[in-house]
Point group: C2
Chain length 385, copies 2
């Protein structure tokens, strides 16, 4: 089957934008994606796939068509939802649509507006990404789910709170160079480890913010891509599901869906973890970044803290991870996150990443998780096209 390429991409800043709506944010992301590629316009887009969790206060049914109409696109639009992995799956669907021959250019994106809910409502909001009957309704917050993983990991591998904090410190440092980041400021190890506890052992600095934002990616056939510069080939994409409830899984120190999705993506691309030059991984909580290193094969089990201590995944390390700032500091507008990772990879692979540009990166990996691991999708993008 023919190859699919990312030929353009754009996003809004992630943050708190009380004067924007879910429609205006999405329309801005579409506008920027189209503006990123010279010679492609709305009329060239064959269909759209929109990821959002979108649980309240806005259009629920038909929210996909509701945002594409506002963005000036009159195309078949499908809404997909897999909690925090919504737009990672949207990009995958776009790849399938292009490879199927049923579309030549597909816009895949996502959005979320989250900052208009206060305290308890916001907790509820994220909780819907976990299991409903036996986790959320019995009082488990979403941070509490990942805290259980952090506790199990610390016990299994003698990891410390500082080991978690190093992921946050790195990602805040990266976000400080990203004009689109929600929390674009640096923090120290003491800031992170000494902050208020949200769900033991996770502190405030180990948790991503709730953000508003949107992102959009243009996926095209190889025939269309040949007409443009600065394209990136979708070398592989893999997805996997698992039991939605954490309590139903055997392991709390890995996310099996991430492992499965990565295995599929690596196989499709004919590469291995050692070939990856940079990665955007799903660090909704600091522990998630550590698990990602191991689930994606960047290191052995229990070695993630060492990778962080040695600076391997720093922006200037051998394998930069979350140079965008990650969910932790770039922000996490749920439905926009997966597509936002692809936006970052495409910018990095085509030399458009400004102050945070990574040198000589050819193969980028995006890793997007739904809930506490009920779904995951891994995408490999190859530059130099």
């Amino acid at each position: 089957m023919r190859d699919a390429y990312v030929v353009g991409a754009g996003q809004t800043a992630f943050g708190a934008f009380p004067r924007e709506s879910y429609r205006s944010l999405f329309a801005t992301a579409v506008e920027r994606a189209l503006a990123s590629v010279d010679g492609l316009d709305r009329g060239d887009v064959d269909e759209a796939v929109v990821g959002t969790l979108g649980v309240g206060g806005r259009q629920i049914g038909l929210s996909g068509p509701a945002v594409t109409e506002h963005a000036g696109l009159s195309v078949p639009t499908t809404r997909v939802e897999n909690a925090c992995a919504a737009s990672g799956y949207a990009v995958r669907n776009a790849v399938q649509a292009v490879k199927s021959g049923m579309a030549d250019v597909v816009l895949a994106g996502g959005y979320e507006v989250m900052t208009d809910l206060s305290g308890d409502a916001a907790k509820y909001w994220l909780g819907v990404s976990g299991e409903t009957e036996w986790e959320r309704l019995t009082g488990t917050t979403f941070a509490g789910t990942y805290a259980q993983m952090a506790g199990a990991y610390a016990e299994a591998y003698d990891a410390t709170v500082d080991d978690l904090s190093r992921a946050a410190v790195k990602n805040h440092a990266n976000a400080a160079k990203n004009p689109h980041a929600h929390l674009g400021f640096e923090c120290s190890l003491d800031d992170a480890s000494g902050a208020a506890t949200v769900a033991d052992p996770l502190t405030l600095y180990h948790c991503c913010p709730t953000s508003d934002g949107a992102a959009a990616v243009l996926v095209a056939s190889e025939e269309v891509a040949a007409e443009f510069d600065d394209t990136a080939r979708v070398a592989g994409v893999g997805a996997a599901s698992d039991r939605v409830g954490l309590f139903e899984r055997e392991s709390y120190t890995s996310i099996p869906a991430s492992e499965d999705a990565a295995a599929t993506a690596y196989e499709m691309a004919g590469v291995g973890p050692g070939d990856v030059d940079l990665a955007e991984v799903h660090d909704c909580f600091a522990i998630a970044e550590l698990l990602a290193y191991e689930d994606l094969g960047f290191c052995e089990r229990g070695e993630a803290p060492e990778l962080l201590r040695e600076g391997v995944t720093d922006a200037d390390g051998d394998l930069p991870v979350n140079v965008s700032g990650g969910l932790k500091a770039k922000g996490h507008p749920i439905g926009a996150t997966g597509a936002g990772q692809i936006v970052e990879l495409w910018k990095q692979l085509t030399g458009r990443a400004g102050d945070r540009q990574v040198a000589d990166a050819n193969l980028g990996l995006a890793h997007n998780v739904g809930g506490s691991g009920g779904a995951a999708v891994v995408t490999l993008l190859e530059g130099g096209a």
Copy 2:
């Protein structure tokens, strides 16, 4: 690109099932789909696409993986939502996945539980399929949206209440032969026209019920399909979106998204409306069936009442429509409806439709609408394979 085939399909009855859950219903549909094809089991399924609106009381985020895990499927699962067209789009996504070469066997299905909400909540429920800000929140019920179409149609073409009722009478007569129908009883023209008004000119008998139910379809590559009997080729599939709010459209006497989706499906299949042998169309309200005849090209504008009067679309007519009973009388568990239409077509095309079997049908059309026409999808299935 390679062809996709429906190789098996199954559904629960549609109705009110207070002792079932959204998970148990979906699992039953999957079980029946797998049982319908000898030699295909869970291990052969590569991925799943699940359609549901699913607005409250159950799993919201990750509801796709939540139902596939209960059905015993450990496969990548994507939830899609396009209001009442959710699983029509799910089937389309499955076709793309198969044609892309990324999957050989995809389970596409959908479910909804609706009867656990009473009066006002149920009205709200369906209302989320319309436009939120300027329709639902200003007091327009979902029936009210279609009532505006019915009023405009009656004025444009001198149609009568009896013209609407004939669609309901026909579909109730068909449902009486369908053991899976929610309202499997006949009604007279006087019953339908004389019933209480829900939203003028629509009476109770012009409105579909709110139902519980699930449906599942197995879509496979031509290589896999060659191993099985009783398959139906997906000859064409088309989708389209439109302004979500009815008030934003120029015409109230057609659903342009249906026209566009049909044009795409016909072109892909290389056929026209005259080639269709039987159809399942989206008759959420009686007026919707009349508009469907015209939008799908079964007759000219304004001629739908004549088709009904002449019995053309009766079960024994030249072009049987909604032999299942349609949304009107088979029932309308939102997320299950589109896949349920494909289940019916597959049964008809493979001679499994029991008392309601249509003779010599080779090309079947399914027409699934989201909301009041913000989305539509049309699928053409060819039997005799």
